[in-house]
Symmetry: C2
């Protein structure tokens, strides 16, 4: 089965990055990615998204401080599997990437649009592949105190901060997290009936 | 400003399609798109998605009937701007595409994963670009009676039906819906401060 193609190549190569080097990036490249992302479909074609692009070092520091304040509270109370996962991945309340990345792209959604969360995150999917094409990296960072950041930035209450995407060149040596196989996630005709079963499409995958 | 690139090209070309021709499509192409989509990031790398791929005509008819039952109720009570939009776009309770498309891809999310909706829709963003690369079309159809369909298909209650993607070759002559300009959606450094303003990046966009 021929599986090659540009999108698969970009999607496979792309990994989440939490460390950035100081090398400047071109704002044109970021705008290219937004230009591609804004072509995404959305409920009622509402395009319920706004972008705030930040490179000012003082503003990045302020945003980092507010996020880290929220993160400290969150990390104190977090329990269960998430606590273990954070420890294993060595993810702490510290969010250096919010200052280290040359750009922060704050993505807001308009809460009055139908399917505003779904539409905005679908659009972020486009954005991530465009970034990868440009050789740029990010993490879809979701701070625990979204509304505090929205307030600080004087963003109207109709908008919800969906994510902060730090954008830059990767300095993160961590490998990409493993993905499940097709067999684990695709059923044919019937829930539970897997691709790899005899008589099915085992040879295709 | 050089804006060309493969992702922008695919994203710009891609439009939502609600009419399909009867031409068969290769299941390998659908699997290619899932293979690309499952590379998407997700909260805690939970990969909270499952796919049910349906080509059986009787099953497609049943799914269509259940959806249309929900749609009739929905269309009877819908009001406000959405009612006007549906009328303008000539979108009715009828969902022929659920039978006409050679494949239906039902996308489920696992409700116990953190950010399950966000992660699943980001992944759908990847999927749509991969489909476009393969020359295939879809609409991210969200039935009003998600849970009824889940029940009918014997899908466990931990899963939520996020969308049904009919997949096939486009027979839809409608033009792509217009998108907003970069200037309308991107702010620089400060909410409300637009790209196109004097001294800003007007020449870049």
């Amino acid at each position: 089965m021929v599986m090659n193609g540009r999108i698969l190549e970009l999607a496979t190569r792309r990994k989440t990055v939490r460390k950035f080097d100081e090398k400047e990036i071109k704002i044109e490249d970021v705008l290219y990615c937004i230009k591609a992302a804004k072509e995404a479909p959305s409920g009622m074609n509402a395009q319920p998204w706004k972008f705030l692009l930040v490179s000012n070092p003082e503003l990045k520091r302020e945003i980092r401080e507010i996020c880290e304040k929220g993160e400290r509270k969150f990390h104190e109370k977090v329990k269960g599997p998430l606590r273990g996962w954070l420890k294993e991945k060595r993810i702490t309340w510290e969010k250096r990437f919010l200052e280290e990345a040359p750009y922060l792209l704050l993505v807001f959604s308009h809460k009055k649009a139908r399917y505003f969360i779904q539409s905005t995150w679908l659009m972020i999917g486009y954005f991530l592949l465009a970034l990868e094409e440009k050789g740029l990296a990010t993490v879809t960072y979701t701070p625990p105190n979204l509304d505090e950041i929205r307030c600080y930035l004087n963003v109207p209450t109709d908008y919800r901060l969906e994510a902060i995407l730090p954008i830059g060149h990767s300095a993160d040596e961590k490998e990409k997290e493993k993905r499940k196989s097709l067999e684990e996630i695709v059923y044919l005709e019937e829930w539970g009936s897997k691709l790899g079963e005899p008589g099915k499409l085992g040879k295709l995958i």
